[in-house]
Amino acid sequence: MITKPLHTKLLYGFILLAALLLPLYVPDPYMFQVVIMSLIFAIAVLAMNLIIGFTGQASLAHAAFFGFGAYGVAIMTKAGISFWLALPAAASISALIGLIIGPPALRTRGSYFAIVTLAFGVIVWIVAGNWVQVTGGHNGIFGIPRPTPIPIPFIGAIEFFDQPAQYYLVLVFLLLTLFIMHRIVYSIFGLTFMAVRNNEPLADAVGINTFTTKLISFVIANFFAGLAGGLYAAIIGAVSPSVAAHLLTFNFLIFLILGGMASLAGPVVGAFAIPILMELLQDLGHFRMLFFGVLLVATIIYFPRGFVGAVRQLNDKIAARRQAKS
């Protein structure tokens, strides 16, 4: 509904071009791996953004749903099921579990909802670490097959054994996620999410079933969290309970808040920039999390809409000043 100005469109075009050409200039395989991970995280954080940023419900079970996707793909592909079937199946299972846990959890509000989802996340994490027959316990699952090659007549097949192929695979899924999120957010349907976040009694009074709205948002978010988890399992080739741990949820939250809540660019910026920043700051050891903890507090106090929000504010100010001059 808002048409973007030309310079913004150019900027997005440039970023897309840079993303497509990235394998040409990424410095080393290690950094390439970090970038691939970032894109997977970006999908998960975009999903988190839908429920937290747009709908205002602090779901802290996000890593648990990432974990459902990851373990789902791991178990199914190791049982011989094609990745292309396992991935949507795992994401759907994640969404389905969201549909089951959502109704009781969403009866609570505010920090009650946060703690209930966090408690659910901790349970999933504990079960993942102890249910040895299914999850492999604390060791997790190894030797997960790479995504199944896509056969193409006459040419051969697209395989996913090297980094560039994996990168483009993840990039396609990220773009798909962005496309769907864009459709949702810039629509009357998406406005109802923001209505619930902004003023729940009024939303109720104008005919919005706020409970169902929150549930839909939660289920969509969990579908994409599961999708990201499934991609993670197939690309890394191993999963362990840490993919479902609340610490991963906190990491996602850092990406989301620092990048910028309630925008589509924010989660991508956060999920892309911060893991790379974390790698660059590797020498700092435990100081890194200290640094990011401080940054998280400072951001939520001074820039609640994160980096992207701050840039927009600055942009608006410059525009206003220009207008005042002319």
């Binding site: 459709r183 009357i188 349907f189 923001m194 009694p201 009024l202 005919g207 919005i208």
Partner: protein, 253 residues
Amino acid sequence: MLSVKYLTKNFDGLVAVKELSFDIREGEILAIIGPNGAGKSTVFNLMTGTLAPTSGKVFIHEENITGLKPYQIVKKGVARTFQTTSLFDQLRVIDNMLIAYKWRTRLGFWNTLFHTPAWKSQHDQAARNALETLDFLGLADKALAFIPTLSQEEQKRLAIGIALVCKPKLLLLDEPTGGLIQEETERIALFIKKVRDQGTTVCIIEHKMQMIMGMADRIVVLNYGQKIAEGTPDEIKTNQAVIEAYLGGDVHA
């Protein structure tokens, strides 16, 4: 068109509304007045499903709507505003209108995801309706403005507009001019009459006696959660119980 029958609401032993019955007739402006704490807003909350009554029933056109949730009652053609101006203040004016129009459409997840033909036509229809209503509100040029940039009167107007966008049969207004100055109050009063003239029945809670006397067709007076009088403005002005309830004071005050 709407009848309230023996409505009672207790809060932890305190009786907020007691055995209240009244009817709202098609096409009228009915005012509910009473001193502070008389239970006026509670009555609205009971009628719109925000609160569940302890006993008693609410009917629309003979249909029992007691116990329905607010979002379901809207769909029966009863829209409301809140005492404190309630808007989606993080969003734009047009967004506020579109959100309120949403329940009339089938703009759900799948239609939105695939941009189906149904999505296209309903989306356009929603936008058209929102703009028409904004025009009626005199806010057409503010469609893309954010809420905090609006004046207080414009915000009050928009709050009524949100309730109006789906063309309700009955509009419940909870102190629509609270906090406004005389001149602004008069403009809102004119606007409310215009709403009625378009065919919407209006039920209004107000403090400002003068405005009510000049506008309402009938008045229901509450005190301590009970109805103490009902009638035309002229009857109410001379009603002994009403004058006493207002501490023997001047009802015109």
